[in-house]
């Protein structure tokens, strides 16, 4: 197991370094000048002021030197300073990433809590009313876009019933109850949307597993259908579901733009979007690097989880 982790970590670092280089080149190739935007239309169109501020921020240096400076900084744990806000990028990330993770984890928990039972029902009750109903719910979940789903939830729970705030973010330390109330709708939107995918995956995987010989054997030796599913089919059927949940978690970092905008949830995605529009290079670089790093970390974790569920994975990859 140990050499497996080491090898995975080494390849992860190489892909991270490659990603950093690509990100740096790509965002500096975009048209647009961060200083002209930052100074606003009055001073931003004054060439002298723009030149002086660019020099101050080190943007007049050749790209190679800027890249070396940035990489050198990262090596010493300094991710640079936001051009717009004057705040350390690491501080901004440290504030934003936990909020994004919180939203994603809450959403995925909802998706798994609802999607797995739904998928099991759909697989067990195939061809019967309950199974069809479960499938319909699953399809409805993943085929309704998040902005539609989100607005419906806002209409029902905040404008209609007035149970939950329609949007916003309150730090947990300020007011724990209000914090969770603000989290509820965006997490539900993420969860309901992804629930469908989990359910479909679960159904297909379980149906497949149930036709395997070892499940038939379990049934043949007298186990009731429900325990055969619970003890033999389900753990095996979970492997692809875990994989898809993990991949989704990774891609959702920096990918929940619409949900964050709709619910005014200040996570990593909204930072990335607003930094991109303003060409705040250090922040864009920091965000993307963080997304890559977390993505790689998650896929590493998934491999480990899968390896512990299914020893064959461990043997194949090591």
């Amino acid at each position: 197991m140990f050499p497996f982790i080491v090898r995975r970590l080494a390849t992860s670092l190489v892909s991270l370094a490659l990603a950093a280089g690509v990100v740096f080149i790509a965002i500096h190739m975009l048209p647009g000048d961060p200083v002209a935007i930052m100074l606003g239309e009055q001073a931003g169109s004054d060439p002298e002021a723009v030149a002086r501020v660019r020099a101050q921020l080190g943007l007049d240096q050749p790209l190679g030197a800027q890249f070396a400076h940035w990489v050198g900084g990262i090596a010493t744990g300094d991710m640079g300073t936001s051009l717009r806000t004057g705040e350390a990028v690491a501080d901004e990330l440290a504030r934003r990433i936990p909020r994004s993770l919180e939203l994603i984890v809450a959403g995925l928990c909802i998706a798994v809590a609802l999607g797995v039972p739904l998928g099991v029902v759909a697989a067990r009750e195939r061809g019967r009313a309950a199974g069809v109903a479960a499938s319909v719910i699953a399809v409805a979940g993943f085929s309704s876009p998040v902005f539609v789903l989100g607005i419906i939830l806002i209409l029902i729970f905040s404008l209609g019933l007035e149970w939950l705030p329609s949007s916003g973010y309150v730090p947990f330390t300020d007011d724990p109850a209000l914090h969770l109330m603000c989290l509820a709708l965006p997490a539900l939107t993420v969860g309901l949307n992804f629930m469908g995918v989990v359910a479909r995956m679960m159904r297909a995987s379980l149906a497949d597993t149930m036709s395997k010989d070892y499940v038939k054997l379990a049934r043949a030796k007298g186990l009731p259908r429900s325990s055969a599913i619970r003890r033999h089919a389900l753990p095996n059927a979970m492997v692809p579901v875990v994989a898809i949940v993990g991949i989704r978690a990774g891609s959702m970092l920096g990918g929940t733009v619409i949900i964050e905008a709709l619910f005014d949830w200040p996570g990593l995605s909204s930072l990335l979007v607003s930094a991109s529009f303003a060409r705040d290079y250090p922040v864009i670089q920091g965000c993307l690097l963080a997304v890559f790093a977390i993505f790689i970390l998650i896929s590493l974790l998934i491999d480990l989880i899968q390896a512990s569920i299914d020893p064959r994975t461990r043997r194949q990859t090591s």
């Binding site: 705030p165 329609s166 005014d264």
Partner: protein, 516 residues
């Protein structure tokens, strides 16, 4: 006719409603102390540097945290702030006498030296200050501890109104020179103090108990929440998570106005225009530009792109309540396709013309306006190619002069007609400088207007300048767009101003706003 009838009916109804409200609210007019106003803003504040303009929410926040020497009151008049009095010995000099005993948030006293330091900081190109070009050639002299003189190289009628803008805030020399991060922290003299701030997310303000205006502000605090999404902002107001929002989306103005729980105040503070690259073909010919001016259907744009909350500009873009407004110019450009075709033919484009237009793709008001313009121009024989771009690209291409034409929303820069020097003046890099545009006659008129301080003497100069601008049409003025603030009925004391003070209105009103 039916439409007129409907409008009159609506006006009569709203008048009745207002009378009714006035009657019920008379008893509740006594301001109450306390409470926190929760304010949702469309623009994200990313920097608290008081000298670098950063959007409408920034302006309100800076006005709450800092004070300039003078400021504007709810009637748009210039009133004392850090200066208790001032005199103008001549048309290029102002001497300010500071209030005694005013301190910054950190407790240090405000001195004439801080005033000099602040204005010099604005003049330093490395600051990138918004008012640098307005204050260019100004020298600031400390006369004594409480007296400071600001002198321009030549007569400048706009000096006092520029120094009254929030961007002319006074900062502490000691604090800035100690290496403070002005983008992240604040140390001002305004009615409120900065309690907590997260860039582009929120800012919490608390009452400044030592504010130099006695008994103000009435509120205990203000919570700014920056909510870019229009729907999220409106929903937060509706569900009472917020007390007030800015930039009520045009599509929601009517719906919210009909709801008795809310009040919507609108004023024209910005206008839409079409900018030409007036130094290269085909738009170096004023006949082609005027053809566009005749072809555009301003009413259709006001109706379709602004849901009826826009007002056609058929003359010059001077607000109606300005003493410089010239009613004679109204109706100069109304839709006249035949005339447009005639002008195009004169300019040698009888068999049609191809042109392109940069359009900011991020806002419906821009894209809808562009599409209507495209249809309008087609009728006049111009085939318009729209180039949708994001803001950063638009800014870069504008500053490079790399465009044929573009749609641009212009907020009124100054409560003074010298704003034209900023819009169209050859020295201004806003529009003219990057394309090398220079109009000698206009330059002369604008210089004359700046040197006169007497309003009556300035009026004929600017009327002449406006007539000249319309005749040459370097820009086509399309319509005023209403900017709306929406708030719950428990919010009192808000006054919406128009023109250049439209964006500042919440900042000007904040110290005397209160909650029921």
């Amino acid at each position: 006719m039916t439409k007129l009838g409907w409008r009159q009916l609506a006006a009569a109804l709203s008048a009745c409603a207002m009378l009714g409200l006035a009657a019920t609210s008379v008893s509740a007019q006594e301001p109450k102390r306390g409470g926190t106003l929760r304010y949702g803003t469309v623009s994200e504040v990313v920097s608290l540097d008081p000298h670098v303009y950063g959007g409408s929410a920034w302006k309100v926040l800076i006005e709450a945290l800092y004070s300039p020497l003078v400021g504007y009151d709810k009637a748009g008049q210039i009133v004392p702030r850090l200066a208790q009095s001032w005199e103008q010995p001549d048309a290029r000099t102002i001497v300010f006498r500071l209030r005694q005993g005013v301190t910054f948030q950190d407790g240090s006293p405000v001195t004439a030296d801080d005033v000099k330091f602040s204005l010099d900081r604005i003049l330093d190109p490395a600051t990138g200050a918004t008012l640098r070009s307005n204050l260019q050639d100004a020298t600031v002299t400390v006369m004594d501890e409480q007296t400071v003189q600001v002198r321009k190289a030549s007569s400048d009628a706009t000096l006092l109104s520029v120094l009254a803008l929030p961007e002319a805030a006074i900062v502490s020399r000691k604090w800035v020179e100690s290496g403070a991060n002005l983008k992240l922290r604040a140390n001002g003299t305004g009615p409120f103090l900065l309690k907590a701030y997260e860039p582009s997310v929120r800012a919490s303000l608390e009452r400044n108990p030592k504010h130099f205006v006695k008994d103000q502000p009435y509120l205990d605090g203000v919570d700014f929440r920056m909510i870019k999404s229009d729907d999220a902002r409106v929903n937060a107001l509706r569900s009472q998570s917020l007390d007030m929002i800015d930039f009520v989306p045009w599509k929601d103005i009517d719906v919210l106005s009909r709801n008795p729980a809310f009040k919507i105040d609108t004023a024209g503070g910005a206008f839409m225009s079409i900018w030409f690259n007036a130094t290269s073909k085909p738009f170096d010919d004023s006949r082609v530009r005027r053809a566009v001016a005749y072809a555009v259907d301003r009413d259709a744009i006001s109706k379709a792109a602004f849901f009826g909350h826009g007002k056609a500009i058929t003359g010059a873009p001077t607000p109606e309540d300005s003493p410089f407004f010239n009613a004679d110019l109204e109706g100069t450009y109304k839709r006249d396709v035949a005339k447009a075709r005639e002008l195009l033919a004169q300019a040698g484009h009888a068999d049609g013309l191809d042109m392109s237009m940069l359009v900011f793709q991020g806002l419906g008001i821009y894209t809808a306006t562009a599409q209507i313009v495209q249809a309008n121009l087609k009728e006049a024989g111009i085939s318009l190619k729209l180039e949708p771009v994001e803001w950063a690209t638009l800014v870069e291409r504008k500053n490079r002069g790399d465009y044929q034409s573009m749609i641009y929303g212009v907020s009124v820069k100054l409560p003074d007609p010298d704003a034209y020097a900023y819009y169209l003046g050859a020295d201004s890099s806003y529009w003219a400088k990057p394309i090398g545009y220079q109009d000698k006659e206009l330059e002369t008129l604008l210089a004359q207007g700046r040197e006169q301080t007497d309003v009556e003497a300035r009026k004929p100069i600017y009327h002449k300048a406006e007539r000249h601008i319309l005749e040459t049409s370097p820009w086509v003025f399309v319509n005023w767009r209403e900017q709306a603030q929406g708030y719950s009925r428990k919010v009192h004391g808000y006054q919406q101003l128009g023109g250049a003070l439209s964006e500042s209105s919440p900042g000007i009103s904040l110290p005397t706003m209160w909650l029921d």
